[in-house]
Symmetry: D2
Subunit: 367 residues, 4 copies
């Protein structure tokens, strides 16, 4: 495949450009019998939708999803699910001038050399607009994981630029446009991002995603490890430059006596592993961090070249997020859910008959 | 597949347990006509081999590779290449006591619950011993990339525990057991690791891998991005807990005006992107960092449980690396080379006819 | 995947039920730069369309295709191509009574037991309606094969029930509703099928598909053989029960001295092989035969059971083709074209650099 | 992949040339806990082994299999299973003269043009010797299908050249070198094949393979249909030119009223479908026919060309089967078993939770 299908057993095959008639996908492998309606998907899409606060792009997309197949009388049938989202707010005229030049930090130069042709309007296929279909597909995955295994997948912004956001509670996450898990920090984040925007600049962010209640035993042992597939899925999100599982880069300076989740009958002592050992889930929380780079589109003049190789100066005007990380949380959740459902199905394929009398110990307890 | 095949067009299908008769793999998709002999592979295996310094495990494995197929009269034929490495130093008796208990930080507990059975000897399938076959397969990938495109893939240790290793020069890397790119730091590393070992502890490390001369245009646009496949491959290495491309987690606190590789006719100004934009190579150096956690096997008593769920105390004796990161460099290089060759072949499949008159600008110049 | 994606490098991911809002697919892996517009696809769809003669179902479907992505300013961009066909003539009420019973010869019983739920309206996902998307995707494949390699893929009906249709000329094929390559036989076919229809019965057919100008060297050696992938693709067509390459089942009674395409500098002597040796194309015509079973839906009363397992009698009324083979030719062409383009891309991936001085001998000459 | 891996969830990745040091494969996806030893595999290999009667090649291969991994204390562990068969009877000198010419009917010409290099010794990778690894892998599949579901996969020769072999009983199959299911016909087959051999000619055969006790509901609905995957697997066997499911090509001349397995509470009435409807198993016997072409290697002079394109005359001497179909039965059984286990695992992945109260009706009853 040419990079538009995600997953092995639960697959998402995506299409669509930012300024074409529509984006959408085919979700294949969903188990039959899941209650599903467009509203289930719409709820997740609305969390990611642009234009909902001053901190994100002012592009107004309805992002209204239509289920074209695979659902009958309110339940999935086991056949492929076609999802369609029409594009409605396409101001292609804004993008005319980028047809002949390459925006720094964007995929313009690389697409051009790879394909020899590109739909430049709004980034075309490389636009973050495509992530809407992941959120839509992820909504199905999330629902199945929840209903079948009680798994909860959710995320939050753990850092905005230089400002760390200490986790306070899950309830706060949905109460602010940043997905910040700490209401007290929100005013600071708002001020900070307003300043960035006024400086015609942008900034990066760190997102944390957590999956709870994942059973022990999901994942593959050597390649296709659960953490490897998570890293793959996360790095497939536009602007992501780093992925950590559990202790992540902090483990470089740790000792073995420290990075060690001891096992006790009462539970694991600590979760340095982030819920995965040897590529397989431990039953603890799966904890993932992402580094999201600053939005490449800023309204400052920068050097670039045109298609003929001549030097040009360009500022990327238009309607852009000052921090693409602000809307990244629902996308990261979707990608984690998609990884998990794929491994849930894989696990059933090979290990459906496995029965072990050893008790499964609970998630981590205090050290 | 159940997690033992890597790649789409250039595939490595791996088998073998630490204490079984042999490990090996099938390499499929290698273009025909590449000059190849066992010695080419052996040279890379010897770089990774245990028992070569006091800083790594004292297990003595010859790691002698046999080419079973796919090569005729010194050249690859385009058919699948069978590689076999017999295990020779298997002291299974050392591992008898871990049959009934789960070593903290290892895959014992997760394998047991996944499969209901495991070859516990030396970690069985989860042993880092399996990485030898990746190095063997990677040697083929490296050779082809070098000969066909002039691509050089190489790596080094950039941090050992708390000690950063500033890059001095590539020549130093092969002159010390740490793959440290700075001869001046080596005595400090030796002392540091001796102390760790004496404390019956272990420590993490950071590895940096670089690919030079990769053409612009390799990678896929949405999923199967080049950076996503790199992250996947790297996170598939035992003990890796984090992956960064280019600026990585530093990009969280960067501004868009800073994380921005401007384009000029003379070249890119900076390489924050780490050689990849929109999932596709830019032609700049591809730069990847890995976080390797401390060796989980340490000779200190720790809490665990046995198969019946009872609490036990256990120290993992045996012959272990005090820092698994020390031998990780050749493995990381192999994984990067395997990612690249797969995308090289993909690129030829879809874009063999593409011709672009736009000049390809060179790698980064000073800011 | 769960059986809705076809191909490895040029993939078709299909969705849609007979009586849902739409059918469609995502075509991925199409090389960039191919001139493509909806009319190119529509022309092939119109060849397969129902309701065009009295010999096929009277369902009236416009089968109008919309290109949703992957084409920019009249050329493919290398990104995924979304195709959408809205269903317009859905008389669901006709199908109410089959909700509770299983039509003999149809997929009703098997879908029901596999999924525990099914969209029974018009066969739902198992309807031959889905083949429209293959024809649409195949149109793209055909166009690329033609323009890039001069390959011509076309087919004809070689037998209708007991009546063989001797090949006269390609020109005749498009001049009658049967795709019969022999105008003289058409009146006999019309009478024959009228009689079948009046008898409220149906009948089988044999379809022959030929690809000309395929270069030598496409295909894989052991699995994924070109003939194996053709057999797979053809047997994926509804109602196909047999596939032959070249001499096919006639080879059972042949001698080696007879089933033998000798090589001469002027060309192959005969084409018993049907253009494929050792899974790889020889450069001769690729010749494939399909057996299409009689339409399972007939207006005669037959025994069946209902969902509770009780015996019932049922006749399948509605608008059905008396011979599904009549419309099978464009579908079979599409499936052959899709196989070929996938192997064209695979060949470029692994063997793009191969150069052989041995002359390529032309297609077969008279024995 | 480049055509050396079979299957999606239960995969066989094969390597090895006829005259290289060894052949073998990696079997991945086998569920854990299956009792398995080398003798289980050896028994199937011995059924296919050359040199066991005057009707097959006199090459003497021990075909002794070694299990290299994936089995611990007599049970599969769920990890990949490495299988190795050393080549022992390699008379490469016999093949020197075919290095420069292309044997008619063989893969010599096509491999040469595809790869630009080939191991010509004994056909190299294209040799039927490779089928030994399929039989080995198939033995594992057979054993699991038998123990887990009671499925029996077995086959027989149903025609040798012009001589049909009417099915008498399964017991006869193992009592003669032809796998003929009818002891009374064996003397005729022996005489017939002796005559063919004396005429320095070869002949084709038809093989029938049957799987009993397959549950209803295995297979995929649109692509990856169970019959499509069977056709694919069978056509991947050397020398196979045709595949039929159930009525096969006979269905061309059938009426819908005739090709129709009515359903009754007592069972299906007839099995024209060959156990598969809509790509999914019905619970009836799965019945497959293969056409095997005559051995291409015969000791008669035939026309060919050499690498320079010059005309040559050549007779293929050496040790060849006068009818490759004679040894094809165990291979075809293996390929059917491999198809079934893959779909067994797929079914568990997606439909493990499906529960249907509708009774499953038994296999076919007399019409």
């Amino acid at each position: 495949m040419s990079g538009n299908t995600l997953g092995l057993l639960f697959t998402v095959t995506s299409f669509g450009e930012s300024h074409g008639p529509a984006i959408g996908c085919v979700v294949d492998g969903c188990p039959p019998g899941l209650e599903l309606q467009a509203a289930d998907i719409q709820a997740e899409l609305d969390r990611r939708k642009p234009g909902t606060s001053r901190h994100v792009t002012q592009r107004k997309e309805a992002d209204e999803v239509e289920i074209l197949s695979g659902v009958f009388e309110g339940k999935t049938t086991g056949t492929s699910i076609g999802l369609l989202i029409r594009n409605t707010d396409q101001r292609s005229q804004d993008y005319g001038k980028i047809a002949e030049t390459f925006r720094p930090g964007h995929a313009d130069y690389t697409y051009w050399h790879k394909y020899g042709i590109r739909d430049h309007r709004g980034g075309g296929r490389s636009s973050a607009r495509e992530t809407a279909v992941r959120v839509a597909a992820g909504a199905i995955a999330k629902k199945w994981l929840k209903e079948r295994y009680g798994i909860v997948v959710r995320g939050y912004m753990s850092q905005l630029g230089e400002i760390p956001v200490p986790f306070a509670c899950w309830e706060d996450v949905g109460q602010n446009p940043f997905f910040a898990p700490n209401a007290a920090v929100v005013p600071q984040l708002e001020q900070y991002l307003d300043d960035i925007r006024k400086a015609r600049d942008s900034v990066g962010a760190k997102i944390t995603v957590v999956a709870q209640n994942v059973p022990v035993g999901w994942g593959e042992p050597v390649y296709d490890r659960l953490d490897a597939d998570i890293a793959y899925n996360m790095m497939n999100i536009n602007a992501v430059k780093g992925v950590e599982i559990g202790a992540g880069f902090a483990s470089v300076a740790q000792r073995g006596s420290q990075h060690c989740d001891e096992l006790t009958p009462e539970g694991f002592v600590g979760n340095e592993a982030g819920g995965i050992l040897g590529g397989i889930s431990t039953g603890q929380d799966i904890v993932v961090n992402l580094a999201v780079k600053p939005t490449s589109s800023i309204a400052q003049e920068r050097r670039s070249i045109d298609k003929a190789g001549n030097p040009v100066m360009m500022a990327t005007t238009g309607r852009h997020d000052p921090c693409v990380g602000v809307r990244a949380t629902p996308i990261a959740e979707a990608m984690l859910a998609l990884t998990l459902i794929d491994h849930a199905l894989r696990h059933r394929a090979q290990c459906a008959d496995v029965s072990v009398s050893t008790p499964r110990i609970p998630g981590h307890i205090a050290k």
